[in-house]
């Protein structure tokens, strides 16, 4: 089959590789219908995440049609149209039983690579380096999906492939970030980042009853999409974000702040220059401008919900959190806890993830898609690949 492979820093190629096979009784094979780029892929492409190997198949956000099933699979059958969260979860361990799916105890095939880094292995993930499991990704004609009874969700009629695609990762990650905010009547939620995850976090905060949602970014098309979703847009290159947030909240500050940016944050000023230099020298992996701003802006006793992907960061002002009594909540997505609900929201038109699909490419042209996505050319919010 054909697949988009990582061959080194900024070296992506579509190549011919072996087809995936059923390896375990709970596996299925999907014929990929759509897959998409994610901002976290850029960390791999830019070489900020170690333990990638040349030839690894990329892509962790996808949906498709079941074409082969293992002998223990009961929930889905050949021909079903399904969406799959990016983390692989067994559904049976203590973590899965407590809805902490991305922390699953049993799906990491190479735990000895990750245990020294994190203390304990997490769930495996598709196409996110060997330290995170090394599972082959879905920018391909076919992909193997383990634990189909837990990880495959049938897409109901009335939900298009494009809408279902983002319920693989951007939507459940964003929804989890809003869920972390424990939204109460009158709450104002500020979201740093208007990429796929940030926009989904904004729409989710509205679904969960936020009084007002404020969206922060610099790209006009992304801010326009946030406004179309009903958020108040702030361009951080034009306003002092912390002052603007105080103004918009009567001096209280947002009740909760969501960081949907992560380690490659844009920013202005000396701190940004410092981070860029250290990151270039591999002295830290993260530029934390957005996160530090959120820490300063959040109201006293508020919640900081971190969705951005981080590695190592210095100049992390912990005193802001401690002295203001801020609660920090963060995780990789526990998607399996949210997908059914999100499919229902999409079916009712309350969640509109298909709006993220600004650009569509044949799989053969996926390196171009990643280039446009990385550099945000022509307003590219997400590049969608069709095998």
């Amino acid at each position: 089959m054909r697949a988009l492979c990582w061959n080194g820093v900024n070296d992506l190629r579509v190549e011919t590789v072996a087809d995936p096979e059923i390896l375990n009784p709970n596996d299925v094979i999907l014929k990929v219908r759509l897959s998409t780029t994610c901002g976290s892929d850029l960390h791999l492409i830019d070489g900020l995440i170690p333990t990638m190997r040349e030839g690894d198949v990329l892509g962790h956000e996808f949906m498709g049609e079941v074409v082969d099933v293992g002998r223990e699979v009961t929930k889905v059958a050949k021909g079903d149209r399904v969406v799959v969260p990016s983390f692989i979860s067994c559904g049976q361990c203590w973590y899965c039983q407590h809805d902490l799916y991305s922390l699953c105890d049993t799906t990491h095939p190479k735990p000895e690579l990750q245990e020294p880094l994190l203390g304990y292995p997490t769930a495996g993930i598709y196409a996110y380096s060997h330290a995170f499991g090394g599972y082959a990704g879905a920018h391909a004609d076919y992909v193997r999906v383990p634990f189909a009874n837990t990880d495959c969700f049938k897409v109901p009629d009335g939900v298009t492939d494009e809408a279902a695609l983002f319920i693989s990762d951007a939507a459940p990650t964003g929804f989890m970030g809003a869920d972390f905010c424990d939204i109460q009547r009158g709450d104002v939620i500020a979201v740093w980042g208007c990429g796929g995850v940030g926009l989904m976090a904004q729409q989710s905060a509205m679904i969960l009853g936020a009084e007002r949602v404020i969206a922060i970014d610099r790209y006009p098309e992304r801010l326009a999409q946030a406004e179309a979703f009903g958020a108040i847009a702030l361009d951080y290159t034009k306003v002092d974000v912390v002052e603007a947030l105080k103004e918009l909240t009567g001096g209280r500050g947002p009740d909760a702040c969501i960081d949907a940016v992560g380690m490659e944050a844009g920013g202005t000023g000396l701190q940004q220059a410092y981070d860029r230099v250290k990151q270039a020298l591999y002295l830290e992996t993260d530029r934390g401008t957005a996160l530090r701003e959120a820490m300063l802006a959040v109201r006293k006793g508020g919640i900081l919900s971190i969705l951005g992907v981080y590695g190592l960061m210095d100049k992390f002002p912990l005193g802001l959190l401690m002295n203001k009594g801020v609660t920090v909540r963060t995780a990789q997505q526990h998607g399996q806890a949210y997908v059914d609900r999100l499919l229902e929201h999409a079916q009712r038109g309350e969640l509109t993830p298909a709006a993220l699909a600004t650009h569509r490419f044949a799989l053969e042209d996926s390196p171009t898609g990643y280039r446009m996505f990385k550099h945000k050319e022509e307003g590219c919010l997400r590049a969608v690949f069709v095998p």
Binding site: T16, V17, A18, E21, E54, G55, Q92, E112, G133
Partner: protein
Amino acid sequence: MSLPDAEAAAETRAAVTIGRPATDLRELWLRPTTQTAIWSHFAVVSAEKNGSADWSVSGSAFGTYRWRTVLMEDEPDRLRWSSQEGADLPNTGVLIFRPAPGDRGTELHLDVHFDPPGGAIGAALGKLFHLAPREIVLTALYKFRALAVTGEIPTTDPQPAARKAGADR
């Protein structure tokens, strides 16, 4: 709770908690197919129902090492095995089952002590097998936990990749 205090043993000790009763876990551990599956990163193990097993480790620069282990202790909360006379790599293993608090199931504490020829341990053993002793033990426990909880051991071998014959093996 007492823990073994020998410093040399520390590197080969690991623990996991599994949300299943000790009796089920003990029975699963002693199944010959389980032993073959959970040690596959380290050795080819051919086990028998009575708890004896033939071990073979090859692929290192030093050729193939073989030994046979037998069960020395077989209690509801403890299994202990030891290699027999003539082993290429003498070793003993102890697996202790303890109840975990709350709804968390059972704690498994595994300690495998290798006693390589010449008395060198740790780093030297790592050189022999390209694996640190603690990694050998911890990986076996992680595999066992996956098997006990889900009935399968996670794997990516083989899978698509632009490497040898289009695959990751």
